[in-house]
Amino acid sequence: MSETDSKPIIQMPDPAKLVVSNSPHIRSGENISKIMFIVVGAMLPACIAAVLFFGLAAIKVLLFCVVSCVLIEEGWNKLVKRRPTWKDGSAILTGILLGMNLNAGAPWWICILGGFLAIILGKQLYGGLGSNPFNPVLVARVGLLIGFPELMTTWDKPALGIMKIDVLTTATPLGLAPGETFVKDVLLGNTGGCLGETSAIALVAGGIILLAFKLIKWQVPVAFLGSVFVITGIAHVISPETVHSPFIHVCTGGLLLGAFFMATDMVTSPMTRKGALIFGLGCGVITSVIRLWGTYPEGVSFAILFMNALTPLIDRVSISKPFGYTVLEKGGAV
C-alpha cells in the first residue's frame, strides 16, 4: 500500500436509501406461505397413506383439486384485479385438504366444482384470505354432500397396492353396524372413507408435526377428540349394540382429519387459548350429537361449520383481562 492509501476510505450509509418505518425494525422470519407450506408438509403422511390405499386414483383426485383451486383463485384475482396470491400457498393447501375430503373415485368435475365452491364461495366472496368466516374446504364438502349425496357417501374400498384396478364400493365404518370394524384396519387406514379419513396413524403424525411447529393450538384437537371420546364412550356403555366403541368413533369418519386440520384452521377458529378450548368442545359435542342421533353417520363437517359461525362470539367472550386490569378494579380509581 502506498502512502496515499494510508487513510482508508470509510463507506457511509446513503441516507436516501434508508427506510423509515415504525418499530419494531426486525421480525421473526415467519410468513404466511411458510405457515401454509408447513401445513402442506404435515398433510404428506396422510397423502402418502391415501395413495397407498387408493392408488393412482388418489393422486388423480388430489392433483385435480390442487390445480383447480390454484387456477380458480388466480382467475378470480384477474377478474377483480388483485395481485396474484397463489404464492402464499393457501390455495394449494385448500386444494389438498379438499382432495382429502373427497372419495378416491370422485370424478374430475366434482374436484373442479369443489374447488370453485371452496375458493369462490368459501373464501373470495368474503374478501379473500383472512376474511372468510367458514372453512372453505368444509363449505365445498358440505355443498357437494348436499348436491350429490350419493357420490359423496359411497366410498371406494381401500386395498393396499398402488395399481388398483377393480373398484369396490363400501360404506364408512360408522355406517356399518358395530362390531364389523377391526381396530387394526382403522389404525392403519384399511377402511372406507374419503382420502383423508383412512389412516389414523398418518393423520396423528400430521397433527404432531403441526403441534411441533406451534401452528395449531393443542386445545382444539384435544377438546374436540376428548369430548367425542367421552360422549360416545358413555353412549357405548349404555348401549353397546347400537353404538360403536369410542375408540372407533375417534379414529374414523374424518374426525382426526377434522380435529387436526380443519377445526384448527387459523382464520376460522378463535384466537385465544380459552376460545380454542370452547371451540373444540363445541365441535366435539355437536359431532357426537349428529353421530348418535342424526341421520348422517358423519357430523364433523357440520359441527366445525357451526362452530365457525360462532367463532366471533367465542372470541368476544374469551377476551382475558389485560395485564394490570384486575388491580385497577380493586383500586377503584379509573
Binding site: V20, H25, S28, E30, R273, P322
Partner: protein, 442 residues
C-alpha cells in the same frame, strides 16, 4: 426479594445479536470540532436558553435552564463558542432547535457542582436538587426527568427502587458494559437514588444472559446494601411494568405509573450519571452508546458527548461494509428509524444501530390470518390482531374498549406477525386519537 423472579405472560425471544459488541470495552470518543446539542432532550417542557450566539462556554456550563418542574437543564459538552442556534434534524423526523458549539480544543471544565463526598449523610432534598441540576433524564430510552421520579407526589409512598439493567433490546450492550466496567458507579448511583427516595435498599434487575455483569455487581452491591436480581431472558423484560412484576409481583394498573404501586424504576446508565453528578460534581453531558449492526465494520461501545452527529459516530466504527436498510436510534424493537445522518446523540440514545436488509422488517399489510401469535406474545395480554382491525376501520371507540391504551408499544406483536402487519403503528395512532378525544371531552 430473594425469591425467584416472576415470569410475565407472553414475550418474544428475538436473536439478541449482542455478541457483536458485548466484549468491546467502552471507548472515549475523541473530541470533535463541533457539536450540535438538541435543546429538547427530555419528556416534558423544553428548557429555556440562557446562552446566545457568540458566547464563550466552558465544558459543563449551563446552556439552557429548566423551564418547569418536568424539565431539565442542558449543559455544554465541551468548551468553545456558540456558533449557531438553529434547527437541526431531530430523532422524530421534525427539525428542532439545537445549539451548535465550535470546540476550542481545550476541553476545559467550567465551574461545576460542588462534590458531595459524604452523600450518605446528605439530605434527600439536596440529592434530588443535584440530580435535577445535573440535567439527568431516564437514559434507557424514554428521557423522563429523573428528579421527577424521585419526588413522589402528596399521598404516594415509595418502598422499592428498581434499577433496570435488563437491557432486553437485542443488539444493545451499552448498559452491559457499564455494569462490567463501572460497577462501582452503578451501585453507588443506585444507593444515592435510594437515599434520595428515603429507602435503605434497592434492587438491580439484570437478565440472565449477562452472567458476568451479575457476578461483578453482586460483589460490589453487598457493600452498599443493594441487591442484584437475575431475571429470565424474555423480551420485554426491561419494560417498566414487566420488570416491576418480575421483581415485586405487583401489577401497575393500566394508565397508572409505577409510583402507584410504590415503585420507582431507573436505568443503570441513569444511576451512573447520578453517581457522576453527586460524587464527581459533573452534569449529564455524555453517555455510553452502542454503535452496532451487521453492516457496521467494527461495532463497539463508545462514550459520546451530547450533540455528536451520527455520521461522526459511524466514522469512528469504520463506516459500513454495505448499505443498510435502516438507521435507528435505540434498539431494534423500540428504536426510532432515521433518514438523516445529521441527527445527534442525545441523553437517551442507547444505541446507534444499522439494520441490514435481510433482517429488516418491512410492513406489507397482508390480511390478518388470525393465527393468534400476537395474542400469545402480548405482554399486556390484549388482542393486537382485533385492535389493529378496529383501527384500520377507524373504530377508535372499539379499540379503546379492547384496552389499546394498555399497550406499551414493545413491538412483540409486529415482530411475530406472519402477515407483517404494522400493528404497532396502528396502536400508536389509536392511542393518540383516543387521548385527543379524551382531552376534547374534558
Amino acid at each position: 426479594m430473594s425469591e425467584k423472579p416472576r415470569k410475565f405472560k407472553g414475550g418474544v425471544h428475538p436473536n439478541d445479536s449482542k455478541a457483536l459488541s458485548a466484549l468491546k470495552p467502552i471507548q472515549d470518543a475523541p473530541l470533535l470540532e463541533s457539536y450540535k446539542v438538541i435543546m429538547h432532550q427530555n419528556i416534558g417542557a423544553p428548557p429555556e436558553l440562557v446562552v446566545k450566539k457568540g458566547d464563550e462556554v466552558k465544558k459543563g456550563d449551563l446552556l439552557a435552564k429548566a423551564s418547569g418542574f418536568v424539565s431539565v437543564p442542558l449543559h455544554a459538552p465541551t468548551s468553545g463558542t456558540i456558533k449557531m442556534i438553529d434547527k437541526c434534524p431531530g430523532p422524530t423526523g421534525i427539525s428542532i432547535p439545537s445549539i451548535e458549539i465550535t470546540a476550542d480544543g481545550e476541553d476545559e471544565w467550567g465551574d461545576t457542582f460542588e462534590v458531595i463526598r459524604d452523600w450518605k449523610n446528605t439530605g434527600s432534598e439536596q440529592l434530588k436538587q443535584r440530580v435535577w441540576d445535573a440535567g439527568i433524564v431516564g437514559m434507557g430510552g424514554a428521557g423522563f426527568p429523573a428528579h421527577v421520579k424521585l419526588s413522589p407526589p402528596e399521598g404516594k409512598t415509595v418502598d422499592t427502587l428498581i434499577i433496570n439493567g435488563a437491557e432486553c433490546e437485542p443488539y444493545l450492550t451499552a448498559d452491559h458494559r457499564l455494569m462490567l466496567e463501572q460497577g462501582e458507579d452503578v451501585v453507588q448511583g443506585t444507593a444515592i437514588l435510594a437515599r434520595a427516595l428515603g429507602l435503605k435498599s434497592a434492587v438491580i434487575g439484570i437478565e440472565e444472559n449477562k452472567p458476568d455483569a451479575i457476578a461483578a455487581l453482586q460483589e460490589i452491591a453487598a457493600n452498599y446494601g443493594v441487591e442484584v436480581q437475575p431475571l429470565p431472558v424474555n423480551y420485554p423484560q426491561g419494560a417498566e411494568r414487566q420488570l416491576i412484576y418480575a421483581i415485586t409481583g405487583r401489577e401497575v394498573p393500566i394508565g397508572k405509573l409505577p409510583m402507584d404501586v410504590h415503585c420507582v424504576v431507573q436505568n443503570v446508565a441513569t444511576a451512573v450519571a447520578v453517581a457522576d453528578a453527586v460524587v464527581k460534581g459533573r452534569p449529564s453531558i455524555e453517555r455510553v452508546t452502542t454503535v452496532t449492526g451487521k453492516s457496521v465494520v467494527e461495532p463497539g461501545n463508545w462514550r459520546f458527548r451530547l450533540g455528536t452527529p451520527v455520521s461522526k459516530a459511524l466514522e469512528l466504527v469504520g463506516g459500513v461494509s454495505e448499505q443498510p436498510a435502516k438507521l435507528l436510534l435505540g434498539g431494534p424493537m423500540m428504536g426510532i428509524a432515521q433518514s438523516s445522518l445529521d441527527v445527534t446523540v442525545m441523553k437517551n440514545t442507547s444505541g446507534i444501530l444499522l439494520i441490514a436488509k435481510d433482517e429488516a422488517s418491512l410492513y406489507t399489510s397482508e390480511p390478518c390470518i388470525r393465527c393468534g401469535r400476537c395474542v400469545e406474545c402480548c405482554p399486556m395480554n390484549i388482542l393486537p390482531a382485533t385492535i389493529s382491525q378496529a383501527v384500520e376501520n377507524k373504530r377508535f371507540d372499539w379499540a379503546e374498549d379492547l384496552n389499546v391504551l394498555a399497550c406499551i408499544e414493545c413491538g412483540s406483536c409486529s415482530y411475530v406477525c406472519p402477515s407483517h402487519r404494522p400493528l404497532n403503528q396502528h396502536f400508536k395512532r389509536a392511542k393518540i386519537e383516543i387521548q385527543a378525544q379524551l382531552r376534547k371531552k374534558k
